[in-house]
């Protein structure tokens, strides 16, 4: 037990540290993420510029911090919008059969698209800006959330107490919000966490392709794209954004995994102490 919690605390700590650093970067660094200073362009990391500077002489630490902020905001916005929409659609589908037929077909159709492809196409057509990125990604992840919520809600719907409530004449809205909703919160949290991390990854890919967050706003994908151009001479421009995105996603994934495992307990690793005791042949009773 302790073993698992250590891991969760560690990665939770990493996540909190990244978030704090990114949101409080101005406390640590006097630089602005946008001011160009060509005289100090492509400086390797030193005491003044912790992560070095980019090809416009902008401080990379601040750029990475802002990029993490942008990526987190995009991820959070997508998770919230897709989570809320998916929740609503899923619950409505579970409750109203005719609606289910239509909305679920739509979800199936949207689900059939490879998600990054659909996001690229939507942003490509609408034009690259943050709002469109959020819109596209939300649209892409609604179906998977809606499906899960619908499934979970259907299980609850079949239960006897719902029958009883209906017999008592409880309104649909009341049953949905008071009785179905609490029962789908746990799968919703798992899904939303997943969407959060996947949206960050997808946004990075979009920006890396130039179809995401437009320059000069930094995002992790943008920074990596810029870093790619100077990968031979300025390793720091790829390294730091790369580390940032890997740590961020790793933390989110591990926390998400643990959340999911918590929701459905399975095989747990045996504590080292017990294994040692077994080896010694310690007996009891």
């Amino acid at each position: 037990m302790l073993h698992n919690n250590t891991r969760l605390f560690f990665w939770g700590g990493v996540l909190v540290a990244i978030v704090l650093l990114s949101f409080c970067s101005s406390l640590f660094s006097p630089y602005d993420a946008y001011s160009i200073d060509p005289l100090s362009r492509l400086k390797p990391p030193d005491a003044a510029h912790w992560f070095g500077t980019d090809n416009f002489g902008r401080d990379l630490f601040v750029r990475v911090a802002v990029a993490v902020r942008v990526s987190l905001s995009v991820g959070a916005a997508v998770a919230l919008i897709a989570g809320f929409t998916g929740l609503t659609v899923g619950l409505l589908c579970a409750w109203f059969r005719p609606l289910d037929l239509i909305l679920m077909r739509v979800c199936d159709g949207l689900f059939a698209f490879p998600s990054l492809l659909l996001a690229i196409a939507i942003v490509g057509v609408l034009g690259p800006n943050i709002a469109n990125v959020v819109l596209a990604l939300s649209l892409v992840y609604v179906p998977s959330i809606a499906r899960v919520i619908r499934g979970a809600a259907m299980v609850v719907k079949e239960k006897n107490f719902i029958e009883a409530l209906r017999a008592q004449g409880a309104s649909s809205g009341r049953i949905i919000w008071l009785h179905l909703l609490p029962n789908v919160i746990s799968p919703l949290i798992v899904q939303v966490t997943w969407v959060f991390s996947v949206a960050i990854l997808t946004e990075a890919a979009l920006s890396f392709l130039g179809s995401g967050v437009p320059a000069p706003t930094p995002s992790l994908g943008n920074l990596l794209l810029e870093g790619k151009a100077v990968i031979f001479t300025a390793w720091w421009m790829t390294f730091f954004p790369g580390i940032a995105i890997v740590l961020l996603i790793l933390a989110l994934n591990i926390i998400g995994d643990d959340l999911r495992d918590g929701a459905e307990p399975g095989l747990k690793a045996l504590p080292v102490r017990v294994m040692r005791q077994l080896k010694k042949g310690a007996q009891r009773g």
């Binding site: 077909r105 698209f113 490879p114 890396f208």
Partner: protein, 318 residues
């Protein structure tokens, strides 16, 4: 079997309908008049009128959709607005690099994913298992393009074992083609290898709990065969399903990986088309890939149906 196929195909129809509806809407989503979007603002009024009529934009939206849908069904996805070619031709021209990359990546992912999963399940709880699981978690968290940059930096620039970027057609030299595609395929396949290895491990561990595994052991089947024959074969069916789902991430993954490694495949076509605002190509390619993806999932369904004797017989009994 026939019923199963029929059922699955019928279920596909609404999906394809919605897919084409969404794709149809893509161009109409674009801000502004689609004709101006397509022709550019400097188009002459005459050209605008002609195209408007050609596209049937003077008709109600529903009629337009029916018309477009009819054309799509007959295989006409329209013409590129910039290149002198039909969308279908462009797609076919760019298909080979993407397919070879995707298949190569899938081969790598399957090899390493299965091996990793089997070793991980076999060494369950030990060092090897922990290393493999950490690698897999890591693999799920590293974007493919970042891994690609890293591979380029280490294996192409520093060690010079592989070419940095580029693509050679299989027509020129098959081996050269593989050599050029190795780094991209690793960058692309790593995540799926991680996915497959996690899945394989989980399923193998489940299967290892099964009674028939003890039967096999009691028969005297060596542990290696217990794993590779009795366990893996049962575990393969869910893994096969994962492979089908992985195709989506392979296809979308190639879009990014191709741009890292300069491979002239579907991904480059899409990215270029977006830079050109070549909407008919975006529309057509998205539709084609999605249909491919849907069909591949169908194929995987049918394959796993055939692979599992329990399912096929139950089907025939019902």
């Amino acid at each position: 079997m026939k019923w199963f196929l029929f059922h699955r195909l019928m279920a596909l129809l609404p999906v394809l309908f919605v897919v084409s509806l969404v794709v149809f809407c893509l161009v109409h989503l674009a801000p502004g008049d689609p004709v101006l979007v397509i022709l550019g603002n400097d188009a002459s009024p005459q050209d605008i009128a002609t195209l408007r009529q050609q596209m049937g934009l003077d008709q109600p939206l529903l009629a337009q959709f029916v018309r477009w849908f009819g054309a799509v069904i007959s295989g006409d996805l329209g013409h590129s607005l910039f290149l002198n070619a039909s969308v279908t031709d462009l797609f076919m021209q760019h298909l080979a690099p993407t397919m070879s990359l995707a298949l190569y990546a899938l081969a790598i992912a399957l090899t390493f994913g299965l091996a990793g999963g089997v070793v991980s399940a076999w060494q369950h709880g030990r060092l090897a298992d922990r290393v493999i699981r950490s690698l897999a978690t890591f693999g799920m968290s590293v974007p493919g393009f970042l891994l690609g940059l890293f591979l380029i930096f280490v294996f192409a620039v520093r060690l010079r074992w592989f070419p940095v970027v580029g693509y050679r057609s299989t027509n020129d030299d098959g081996l050269l083609n593989l050599w050029y595609l190795t780094l991209p395929a690793i960058a692309l396949g790593f995540r799926i290898a991680a996915l497959i290895s996690r899945m394989t491990r989980a399923v193998m561990l489940d299967v290892l709990q099964e009674n028939y595994i003890n039967t096999a052991r009691a028969k005297g089947v060596p542990e290696s065969l217990v794993l590779l024959r009795h366990t893996l074969k049962n575990a393969l069916i869910p893994v096969l399903t994962i492979c089908g789902e992985s195709f989506a991430s392979l296809v979308t993954g190639t879009i990014v990986i191709e741009s890292v490694f300069g491979i002239p495949g579907i991904g480059s076509l899409i990215v270029d088309s977006i830079e050109r605002r070549d909407f008919t190509v975006i529309q057509g390619v998205v539709l084609l890939i999605t249909v491919c993806y849907v069909l591949i999932n169908l194929l995987v369904d049918v394959l796993s149906y055939l692979a599992d004797p329990r399912l096929s017989v139950e089907g025939s009994e019902n």
